[in-house]
Symmetry: C2
């Protein structure tokens, strides 16, 4: 209480001294002036250095691409409050947005942005591609998704499910867009349950062709990005029926449009229609009426059919075969994860800059009104989200490195980590954008201010490229399987960062001091304690159900709550680990200090939001100490607010008028005729 009181005395004095504005008290009719946060706030650390750390790679290439967009009328530059802002024009019709998106991509291609994306050595390209997509997504989700589908999903399928013949035929053509690809996996009747899709392919040995058919309405391909207007080719996922046996889901290349854009014979295409966001992407639906494609169009890396119609696969186990054919999705999930982080950065940069220039209510008459960000409640709303976003940045960089160096041994780890990060980041992003929009008040609803609009644009992330709920179930199932496997070979935990399970169970001190709460060892202990305990409980409960005769699926369905808590605790521990590793690369100094504060805020936010009280990992008193420490950390971050969002490295033109002189931007002189 005393500490809290001291802090507010400081806050209040700070307010009284700081402001250079005339008091806007009832009795005065002096006017509000906008003063840029840069004029009142100072930078306690090197924001360039911080940006290099959180962007992690290709900072110059990012700025080059930002520059390309700012340099072209195609990106719709508009002047507001004396500054130029680029943005997709969301007042245009769906059709206009789609055409504009294609034109932008053609322009970027002309500038060589996509060179080598599929044909150069992967290790060298992975991070560059990520950086480019991150920058594109900061401009607009639609352009990023169009490019992502073309390269990651279509291109990735050719690359990872196809063999040399397919690579030679389509990779270069994809890179220079002579072929425009889409990824036809999802159907009206089956999304998450890919193995249940109803499209059927048979083989005709007389002609050496596969015959692809949509047997019913529920089998129509659905949500296929690019199908409605632009794509010439599709990777079509289908059941493969050979001599009366269903060999399961396989991928085939089917041309759906000719070079002039005419839909091919025996292919029917319809539009998915208007969406709450992402209208620059032409999602479509496809029906195949016994379409015939040459035998070579089976992407045959995992299985093949001989000219005489024999099914051959090196992978005997159909489950493994199916898993292998889902490989292209990993890249898509990586892409979703990292882009979610950058959207949170856009939202927070806008909300915090606004809170540094918007005042509301004065503490006493004839005093200046208080800056929104000087209210402890407003700090409490935003700073934990800033900490989360920094944590996600480090985790995203880790995920990219993991993807770049993925080996057969790392496939499982990559699947589990990318699934849990994709779900966690996209859910965090929606929460962050919602809080930011409300923190901006009504201005958060103006489309040109971006923060509210991004919610509709990115909402899709929680259900596409794998439904978050299903992905998190897969994470808990994978942890269960790992646990069982380790116990079987009884050699101790190693994979999935579970090594801590071999150590003795961490003990939380009965009384948590500020020093302990800020200590990274304690923070890691707390996160590991929750993960290990939930994993033990989950295994116990699932096993008990099975012992009682439930199938493994039934058992998982019954224990879903523990499963949800477990997969969340896995994510947060894994994310925290990447934060520690990033921090460790720094030498002592102001940068490391502020990162330490953010790291503590992230860890304590996890322990407060998470299930610590529910499972009794924290006593009520310790829970109180955590809460008080969070408030304290927030007030310590207040002086760094501007630097923390400046470090996101987003050019002014990609934020919005609300982040700068919003009074001028709204002045009569700025009204468009």
């Amino acid at each position: 209480m005393d500490r809290a009181f001291e802090r507010t005395k400081i806050l209040t004095n700070h307010l009284l001294l700081q402001s250079s504005d005339p008091p806007s008290s009832l009795s005065s009719n002096a006017c509000l002036n906008y003063s840029a946060p840069e004029d009142s706030e100072n930078y306690a650390f090197d924001v360039k250095e911080m940006r290099n750390l959180i962007d992690g790679h290709h900072v110059e290439e990012r700025d080059w691409l930002f520059g390309l967009m700012m340099g072209s009328e195609l990106f719709n530059p508009k002047v507001r409050g004396g500054k130029v802002f680029v943005s997709a024009d969301y007042r245009q019709s769906m059709e206009q947005q789609r055409e504009k998106t294609i034109k932008r991509i053609e322009y970027l291609q002309g500038k060589g942005v996509f060179e080598g994306w599929l044909t150069e050595k992967e290790e060298e390209m992975v991070l560059k591609i990520c950086a480019s997509l991150e920058v594109l997504s900061i401009f607009d989700h639609s352009i990023m998704v169009k490019v992502g589908v073309h390269f990651y999903l279509w291109g990735g399928a050719i690359k990872y499910l196809g063999t040399k013949h397919h690579h030679d035929k389509w990779l270069r053509a994809t890179e220079n867009f002579t072929v425009k690809g889409c990824f036809a996996m999802t159907e009206l009747g089956h999304g998450s349950n890919v193995r249940g899709i109803e499209t059927v392919t048979t083989y005709d040995s007389n002609t050496g062709e596969f015959v692809i058919n949509t047997p019913c309405e529920s089998a129509q391909k659905y949500w296929i990005g690019g199908a409605a207007n632009h794509s010439t080719h599709a990777v079509v996922f289908s059941q493969l029926h050979i001599n009366g046996t269903d060999q399961g889901v396989h991928a085939f290349v089917v041309q759906i449009r000719d070079a002039d854009g005419n839909i091919c014979p025996n292919v029917r295409i319809a539009d998915c229609g208007h969406k709450i966001g992402l209208n620059g992407v032409d999602n479509g639906r496809i029906w195949f009426d016994n379409v015939r494609v040459p035998r070579e169009n089976l992407l045959n890396a995992v299985a093949n059919v001989s000219p005489d119609g024999q099914y051959i696969s090196p992978i005997k186990n159909p489950d493994q075969r199916f898993a292998a054919s889902m490989a292209p999705l990993t890249g898509g999930r990586l892409n979703v994860s990292v882009n979610a982080v950058y959207q949170s950065k856009v939202g927070l940069a806008i909300a915090i800059r606004y809170a540094l220039t918007r005042r509301a209510f004065s503490l006493n008459r004839n005093e200046p009104e208080v800056l929104l960000l000087d209210y402890p409640s407003h700090q409490r709303r935003l700073f934990p989200l800033v900490a989360k976003t920094y944590a996600m940045s480090f985790a995203a960089n880790y995920l990219k490195m993991l993807y770049r160096s993925r080996t057969p041994e790392l496939i499982k780890t990559m699947h589990v980590v990318s699934s849990s990060f994709k779900a966690t980041f996209s859910w965090n992003n929606m929460q962050i954008l919602q809080v930011c929009r409300e923190a901006c008040g009504g201005q958060g609803l103006k489309t040109e201010n971006r923060v509210g609009h991004l919610k509709g644009e990115f909402d899709v992330q929680s259900t596409f490229e794998g439904d978050n709920t299903i992905l998190m179930q897969q994470v808990s199932k994978a942890l269960f399987a790992e646990y069982i496997a380790v116990r079987k070979r009884n050699k101790g935990f190693k994979a999935l960062g579970l090594g801590h399970m071999n150590k003795p169970r961490p003990v939380i001190p009965s009384e948590l001091t500020s020093t302990t709460l800020r200590c990274s060892e304690f923070q890691m202990d707390a996160l590991c304690l929750r993960e290990r305990d939930l994993l033990n409980r989950f295994v116990a409960d699932v096993s008990e159900c099975r012992a009682k005769g439930a199938s493994s699926e039934q058992a998982f369905i019954m224990c879903y709550q523990l499963g949800e808590d477990l997969s969340r605790s896995f994510s947060e521990r894994a994310i925290f680990q990447t934060f520690l590793e990033a921090e460790a690369t720094l030498s002592a100094g102001s940068l490391k200090d502020v990162l330490g504060t953010l790291r503590s805020l992230y860890a304590l936010t996890c322990t407060e939001e998470g299930s610590y009280l529910r499972y009794g990992y924290l006593s009520v008193d310790n829970g109180g100490s955590v809460r008080r420490e969070i408030t304290k950390l927030c007030s310590e971050l207040r002086p760094h607010a501007l630097s923390l969002v400046t470090s996101f490295g987003i050019p002014d033109a990609f934020l919005s008028p609300l982040a700068f002189d919003w009074i001028d931007a709204n002045s009569w002189s700025s009204v468009e005729a």
Copy 2:
């Protein structure tokens, strides 16, 4: 564990028996069929009776108004999957949406929908007006807001801030739309802090006119619904300067457009531009260049200026005067609150009907896939929200009755309850719509399916008509004031439902059985315990800060976290009370039984989501019992799912294709040429 296991065995058998669909196993290429929930689910209670209970009043008038809309091409009827759906066409431009909205209002006026809204006896009209706005909002938020601003804000200001002269001149004219009103309170620089607005009005005794001026850009009126295109008149809130003293905020009637729609001299108007929702409402900005209006245009119920320029007010205390002049906002908050509830009903009706027809994954090969709603996790996602929505329905009806019978003594109660319900309902609604959209998967993003689109349309509710955060702060401050007042006169608590504070502190049993958890006395005890304890803590902490020299504002700012928990606990206890009262009106039977289950689910959801563990009101073990009971209640509600959403009484045409035969709606034959 055993209980859980039993339940899942039942669930599984249920699945195997129930389904009449052919198995869509890997080896089969039989197709998914849509089977209407009505064919498999049965009604265990009378849904008509339930609807009467939750709609509460004017059920026939509601259906009449639904019918009017379904009967006109203006409401954009479209056939999907063999059914007709009406909806605003969100693919139209902002300008088209605005014009369409006006045309719809004119049509409804022609049908006599608005007759007597301002001129008939209020007691008789209040509920009818609410019912009409609820029905309009189910069609589209824009039409409801346009009507709401015109009648509640403009009309309400004339009625409650004006006197006979104003009533005679403007009420009838408003009712027949010869005058189109708007409500010019908010400014670019001041929203929540109304007392800080910068518009200045002086009095010229030579001409007997008020002179209204916008001294600076931050003083421009902002977000004024109706100002951009349609309004002819505005109630303008402004500082009133009389002989050099600022008498505070007062309301004046200013004509801003002539009958032909030309903007009046010395008035400048600009558009607020495109928003993430509500684009059928023409929000505008207004500048006044020393506009002159006759002395009579001061709405003088609370204060007046004599012809010779003397300021006269029966209310000496400027704070009370200000409070009195905010009266029209109460109706607006009532309106926001009740409409939020109906949006949750739309979202849940769609998500639950879809979950009763959409299958995903089978438990074992060659078994039918499982209906989404048969997954305990899916039930856990949706049913607590159904219970919340029922609770909000009863609370909304209570709030309407309170509004209708509001007396000077009840003004404070009305302000506190309407503020807390407005904030709670609108936040709940956004949470409910988000969960529903994700529960519908990608289909939740299709604009025509409504559920996702409603998020953008109703997001505004959390910050307009009073920012939720600020409103909740006012609730905790009011509870603080009440506590101090009661202690002073030491006569015991009575107002604001705090009577329970006079009783001994409730005790939570150390072991909570299922019977206890479902007992309404226990549930009320638990909610009262939290409220009383948080109120005591809040008062103690605030007082301690003040004892240390903090101003009362500083003290409240410092104790904001307790304040937030307190105002939430007040809302939930108050809502629960209305649930109990509604339940008490029923005689024993299936209807009362299912309501009892919903009531228990609502109460236990509050205790689980709320701060019970944080403050130690529940032990970890008891928390576990609460969680298990919630799962059990959800599975008990599963058979009633369809009846519970059918009881919302929303005509099929106002739901969306996803709630009915979504396979047919997506079939090739339904593709629009």
